[in-house]
């Protein structure tokens, strides 16, 4: 992906993403197919965060068909999702974004320079891959999930094994955080409008009925979906969004600003150490992701402890009764709130589909931050300036496969 900025008297007039990815037309190819195909096909929107597309599709279809998954199903879906958040965040924090601040953007060099630290990160990532394999059947493109439940559930023995690793992995994640915590970010002050999903009593990834903002907005999911405006610039294959004509932020930093009170203890302790700047400097998204990794490991442990007192059936499947309907499904993906919408006819075929990805939602916010950041770099040499601009783009963690879909 490239970024184009039009400069006028040293000020940025317009900045926008220039995407090289082609149109795969996922929202088109899904039409006129049975609803069962949607979670399979849409997980292929993104190979870094397939679980969130799979689950958002399943949730939207369940809303359309009036299907209610039971509590055990929800626990397993959350486990799978937490695994993916850790997997995506470890990749992004330590291999895609932090290198910008460690003085070398080639990861092979970073791995040579910090072998001990990267080994800790690999252990955390291995753990997340294991969680996804055990629950979803595979880490890239899950297979065990389906509308209504799970085709197969893991054996208790495997869950116990993961549970026994949690404490050790939590320490590794804390140490990894210590490693990147030393990074000093550039000064940048922008007005952040953080938006995230919300769930009663828990830090929300799976999502509930509402979407909240740091400015006190509290909308039902349906109202939020209807209020988002999508804009396709000429020739672009990305539909950027605005909410009430304004840009807004989704992702780890938005979530942590909106719901830090709900973080698990170890994660909360680290958040409390953050300086006041975290509220206005998007670079802190990197730390927010790292803290979320810690929160997720704690949460995986909580869920596994709950599951250890339950009897786990071999499968949980529902007989689906077809009806015409439409539904919105949302989960908070690693990069922010993701929405899937489907309209289904009475024979179970999808007649309409719309997918709004986190990257499409925060691109306008990124543009806005770049407009403020770029003039601050006016005195730097070109090479240095490019690196600084890239570091801000990367810290937002844009996913172009998702943005384009």
């Amino acid at each position: 992906m490239g970024f184009e900025a039009k400069l006028f008297d040293g000020q940025v007039k317009e900045a926008f993403a220039d995407v090289l990815e082609g149109a795969r037309l996922i929202e088109g190819i899904i039409r006129n197919r049975p609803y069962e195909d949607a979670p399979i096909i849409t997980s292929r929107i993104c190979g870094v965060c397939p679980v969130v597309h799979n689950l958002a599709a399943i949730k939207a279809i369940e809303a359309a068909l009036g299907v209610k998954p039971d509590d055990t199903v929800l626990l397993f879906r959350k486990l799978l999702l937490l695994g993916e958040i850790i997997q995506s965040h470890t990749l992004h924090v330590f291999l895609l974004s932090a290198p910008d601040f460690l003085g070398d953007t080639n990861d092979f060099n970073i791995i040579k320079k910090y072998p001990k630290e990267l080994e800790m990160v690999f252990k955390v990532r291995d753990f997340s891959v294991k969680v996804m394999r055990v629950v979803g059947g595979r880490s890239v493109h899950p297979i065990a999930t389906e509308v209504g439940g799970f085709k197969v559930l893991p054996e208790k023995k495997k869950l116990q094994e993961i549970l026994s690793e949690c404490d050790n992995i939590l320490e590794k994640a804390k140490d990894s955080h210590k490693f990147i915590e030393k990074i000093k970010f550039p000064k940048l002050e922008v007005e952040l409008r953080p938006i995230s999903s919300s769930q009663a009593g828990e830090y929300s990834f799976y999502g509930g009925d509402n979407i909240i903002s740091g400015q006190g907005l509290d909308l039902s999911l349906q109202k939020f979906y209807k209020s988002i405006e999508e804009l396709q610039r000429p020739k672009s294959v990305v539909k950027e969004t605005s909410l009430y004509k304004r840009h807004y932020l989704v992702g780890a930093l938005a979530r942590i600003l909106n719901q830090n009170e709900l973080l698990n203890p170890a994660a909360k302790k680290l958040f409390k150490k953050m300086p006041e700047e975290v509220k206005s400097n998007p670079f802190y998204n990197l730390f927010a992701q790292s803290i979320e990794i810690i929160h997720c490991i704690e949460e995986i442990k909580n869920i596994l402890e709950k599951l250890s007192s339950l009897k786990i059936p071999h499968e949980i499947r529902q007989k689906i009764v077809l009806r015409a309907g439409e539904g919105v499904g949302s989960v908070d993906a690693p990069r922010g709130t993701l929405l899937h919408f489907y309209k289904i006819n009475k024979s179970g075929k999808i007649v309409d589909c719309n997918i709004i990805t986190p990257t499409a939602q925060f691109l306008n916010d990124l543009d806005h931050s770049l407009k403020i950041y770029i003039p601050q770099l006016a005195t730097l040499k070109d090479e240095e300036r490019v690196l600084k601009i890239k570091s801000l783009v990367r810290v937002y963690d844009p996913c172009i496969s998702c943005a384009t879909h």
Binding site: L20, E21, G22, A23, R24, L25, I26, E27, G28, I29, R31, N32, R33, P34, D37, I40, I41, R44, I45, C46, G47, V48, P50, L91, L95, L96, T105, N106, D107, F108, I111, F122, R125, V129, G136, G137, R138, S139, V140, H141, I143, A144, K151, V152, Q232, P234, K235, S236, V237, K239, E315, K390, S401, T404
Partner: protein, 252 residues
């Protein structure tokens, strides 16, 4: 004297990038590969613009669905001694090949307001666009199989995938047969090597790895048509882009 290491490039066209993610699932093994060879291009782990030089092996994931994608693909072919397609999108066009089967203009119109201005190519298998030497199948690729093939290639061996069906691997692992339960499963006609990972999760095989040459296609289709109808069978064949090549194959 220090031996010259073979140079590897890993490239991505339009796709989900899940194969790139999958091949780094075993980071230590992947680093061993990076140690034995020199991985000079890999967008996931470095951000320098592509430096075109002679690569011993180039892996390509994704489909060429824009003019820029196509240009890049052709240029990579020029510089690569061995070109390997990585994953279902490169081999068969991936899920987005459904565009070809369902009318790409109509679909673009449903998705984009400015649908006329975007590149909306017919999806082609990479081997129809440039010469392809080897292939790593699957959606996503099996990381262990990728590593085996990559190590073979850098040590000058010809990589082989054993000709056997997913069905064989499923039975050997003792999973219940979904076909017998009435679910449309392509296991008997699909090339193994995935260890029947989908069947392990009771997900019927949808053929992402392409064909097992020894299969009896017609008899499986007859059975599936009886179970779910011809229309649904064809829909399933569309998912991983195998429908067009399979139809040609059966006609022969």
């Amino acid at each position: 004297m220090k031996a010259i290491k073979p140079k590897i490039g890993i490239f991505s066209l339009s796709c989900c990038e899940g194969c790139e993610n999958a091949i780094s699932e075993y980071p230590r093994e992947f680093l061993k590969l990076a140690n034995k060879a020199e991985i000079v291009e890999f967008r996931l782990l470095e951000d320098a613009p592509i430096k075109f030089e002679n690569w011993d092996v180039a892996f390509i994931e994704g489909s060429a669905i824009t003019a820029a994608n196509l240009e890049m693909l052709k240029k990579i072919r020029k510089y690569a001694k061995i070109l390997v397609t990585l994953g279902n999108c490169a081999e068969f066009g991936g899920i987005h090949k459904i565009k070809n089967y369902r009318g790409k203009e109509k679909l673009a119109k449903a998705v984009y307001k400015n649908y006329k201005e975007i590149d909306n190519f017919e999806i082609e298998d990479i081997k129809n666009l440039v010469r392809v030497d080897y292939n790593v199948p699957g959606c996503p690729v099996n990381p262990e199989e990728f590593l085996r093939i990559a190590f073979d290639l850098i040590s000058g061996k010809i990589p082989r995938i054993q000709e056997r069906a997913v069905c064989y691997e499923c039975q050997r692992r003792g999973f219940p047969c979904l076909l017998q339960k009435g679910e449309p499963c392509l296991g008997p006609i699909t090339l193994g090597g995935c260890n029947a990972v989908c069947l392990e999760s009771r997900m019927p095989c949808e053929g992402c790895r392409g064909f097992y040459e020894g299969a009896n296609f017609k008899s499986l289709f007859k059975l599936i048509d009886k179970q779910v109808g011809k229309k649904r069978r064809e829909e399933i064949l569309e998912i991983f882009g195998i429908k067009d090549r399979l139809e040609k194959k059966i006609k022969k």
